[in-house]
Amino acid sequence: MDKFYYLDNAATTQVFDEVYDLMRNNNIDSFYNPSASYKLGNKSKKILDEARDNINQVLHGDCGKLIFTSSATESNNAVFRGVHLRAGQVVLISAGEHPAVYNSAHELAKRGIIVKDIPLLKNGKIDIEKLKDMLTDEVALVSVIHISNETGAINDIKEICKIVKQKNKDIIFHSDGVQALGRIKINLRDLGVDLYTISAHKIYAPRGIAGLWIKNGLVLDPMLYGGGQENGLRSSTENVAGSLAFAYAAKKLNDELDSNYKKITNLKKELIKKINESEISDYIEFNSDEECLPYIVSLSIPKIKGQVLVNAMEDDGVVVSTGSACSSKKAGNRVLEAMGKTLDETIGSIRISFSPYINYELDYIVSVIIKNILRFKKMQKLKD
């Protein structure tokens, strides 16, 4: 069989086989509506709440409650629509946010709310000194991505949240933790956040189920009105099988976190070493440094279009992405630009994202990268 290596696990992951079985069995044995008043409905409700508790345990989120949503995009939208804000107040978000935060936050401008981007450092983390300057009395909500989906840059959410709360404990703090769940340890009590977004399909569970963790005492406006499910915040018949799958995957990844992290750290090191020792090393700039989450490696090959490279590598059985899948249809890359990268560097960027559950043949993968970069460099040089 032809070689095939999927290296776009930051975009989505392949559902675990046993997760399929869990969902299938649940859909047969306990498909009943959790809101139904008979015993079988109640049994469904118990499964749902147990899943909720299990995920909350992984998050160390006993000081809050997890609301199930259909996607991280929905969770992030719920933050910017649900938090009570007035015209004239200020919302700060990092310039490195995923479009689901970035675009839904900037929508607030239509309501007279001032939305400002916290600049990024060259390493992709937010500029904490700049943030301090931006923390005026009008700031009501701050949202900082936990781990960048573009570069894997990890923000010190605990420290950032502390700074924000020191300025004013009433400022609501949200973090998009989609890339963090299952990759690093999360302790929401310790982080001090008020709101935290997670998603199932990034951790080998299906699409269609995600979550918004809400600290006790914080009141949000409902996302959807209807039958009053999910504490009245998100009416809809609950996705019991999805929640079960989500909880299983969250626990499994949490249990295997350390060994996976080690494995992927070695992979990343090896990949970078092999590239740096190859004839293409001069053409490549890494956008993810050694402090970044090892699962994500962003690199730029200036003057070669990332999309062309992605197309050609796919034909060789190596699937990577240009920037993040959600933004890859636009020219350039907002996050890399915010890190100070040139247009050539952003257009020429690709993102490699590993899975600990796939065995990668690094020699082959690197050979494909080298072969194609040399091919396009040759064309480019002829043009120059």
């Binding site: 279009k305 999309q307 062309v308 992605v310 249809k329 064309m379 002829l382």
Partner: protein, 389 residues
């Protein structure tokens, strides 16, 4: 009494002895285009009749009929057995909710069943309509509405308002077959539409430069073909890679000949496809002088590779705005102007040769193994079948 749609033929009338063939093809095309509706298509002298459909689908059926080549015009009508009282009452009812100026026109093939002549019928029914609807005024010279009463042989009568113009032209499949060079721009779908209107059964070839061009460029072409297929019927696209040819030209030839040599490659492939799949003509959206590759000199040196297949350029004398007008009419414009990642720019020469000479072009072409590269392109063709909506 029932609701029907009366269909009038276009140029089929001109076809003398072949008329039966043209009518038969049109009949098949109408049946095929309307196959998702539950209805029947009947032939009456000089007309087709759509009957037995659900009224709620009438608008959809009308929209579909507008896209069938060979239909001159059509009218939703009331069909009944000829009976004067019934004709009067139906006419009055038909006009009850209308307003503005009108006249009644009567046409009698059957002059026996009703004792009044055409003029008398029109006057009588016009008067009765006016009695019931004060929002209408008679204007015999320049009316907004014309109520037609068509009393035909076999005791059949049709009542209908104004006619709706059809696509015209000749039924697809009556003028042989053609291979359209479909690029994804504005012009080529229009060229395909125009030849379908002349009765040509069209299929398409799309040249791509994957990985330099993106998947979205290809999706756009498939989307255009889907729209075009409403006029042409089911459509096949041959997807052919020009990547190797472009890379070889870029590497070995004078860059200003990139487009000329590339197009010679495309036309060579096109003729080979025509021979292989029995297509009788190559159709392009070229318009004289529009870009460097569409000067008469460029067209000449490019056409030189095509030995025995006519190249039809229906837009050759069109202004861009005329082409755009048709593209908007046939609904391809919005798709054609969609931006997609055109990764091909790496090969775009800074100054393409505008008036190439054949001897220079041949000299450049000899620098690469042209025939071998074309053969490899031909050996790796992907076939995409587009089903008409």
């Amino acid at each position: 009494m029932k609701n029907v749609i009366l269909i009038r033929f276009g140029e089929i009338f001109l076809k003398g002895k072949n008329r039966g063939f043209f009518e038969k093809v049109l009949y098949i095309n109408i049946k095929e285009a309307l196959k998702r509706f539950d209805l029947s298509v009947k032939k009456i002298p000089g007309r087709y009749l759509i009957c037995d459909y659900e009224r709620e689908f009438e608008e959809e059926i009308i929209e579909r009929l507008k896209k069938i080549a060979g239909i001159f015009s059509f009218s939703p009508a009331i069909f009944m057995k000829t009976n004067y009282e019934e004709i009067v009452s139906q006419s009055v009812e038909f006009m009850l909710d209308k307003k503005g100026t009108f006249k009644v026109e009567t046409n009698r093939a059957d002059k026996k069943t009703i004792s009044l002549n055409s003029m008398q019928i029109s006057a009588d029914i016009g008067g009765k309509i006016l009695e019931k609807n004060s929002n209408l005024k008679v204007d015999v010279k320049n009316p907004e509405l014309i109520l037609n009463i068509d009393i035909r042989e076999n005791c059949e009568t049709f009542i209908y308002l104004n006619s709706i113009r059809g696509m015209g032209g000749m039924p697809v499949g009556t003028s042989s077959t053609g291979l359209l060079l479909l690029s994804g721009g504005i012009d080529s779908p229009v060229a395909g539409y125009m030849m379908a209107k002349r009765g040509v059964k069209v299929c398409a070839v799309h040249f791509h430069s994957y990985p330099y061009t993106s998947i979205s460029a290809r999706e756009k072409v498939e989307e255009l073909a889907k729209i075009l297929s409403e006029y042409t019927g089911d459509l096949i696209i041959y997807m052919v890679s020009m990547t190797e040819l472009q890379e070889q030209i870029h590497e070995n030839c004078d860059d200003s000949y990139m487009i000329t040599l590339l197009r010679r490659g495309m036309f060579t492939v096109a003729e080979k496809l025509c021979k292989k799949f029995k297509r009788r003509m190559i159709i392009t959206g070229e318009s004289l002088g529009q870009v460097a590759s569409q000067t008469i000199e460029s067209m000449t040196v490019v056409s030189e590779v095509v030995k025995s297949t006519p190249i039809i350029r229906p837009l050759v004398a069109f202004d861009k705005c005329e082409t755009i007008e048709i593209a908007k009419k046939i609904n391809t414009f919005e798709t054609s102007i969609k931006p997609f990642e055109d990764c091909c720019t790496v090969f775009l020469p800074d100054s393409p040769v505008v008036r190439p000479k054949l001897e220079d072009v041949l000299k450049e072409q000899k620098k690469i193994d042209f025939d071998e590269i074309i053969a490899r392109s031909m050996s790796n063709i992907e076939v995409v079948e587009i089903k008409s909506k």
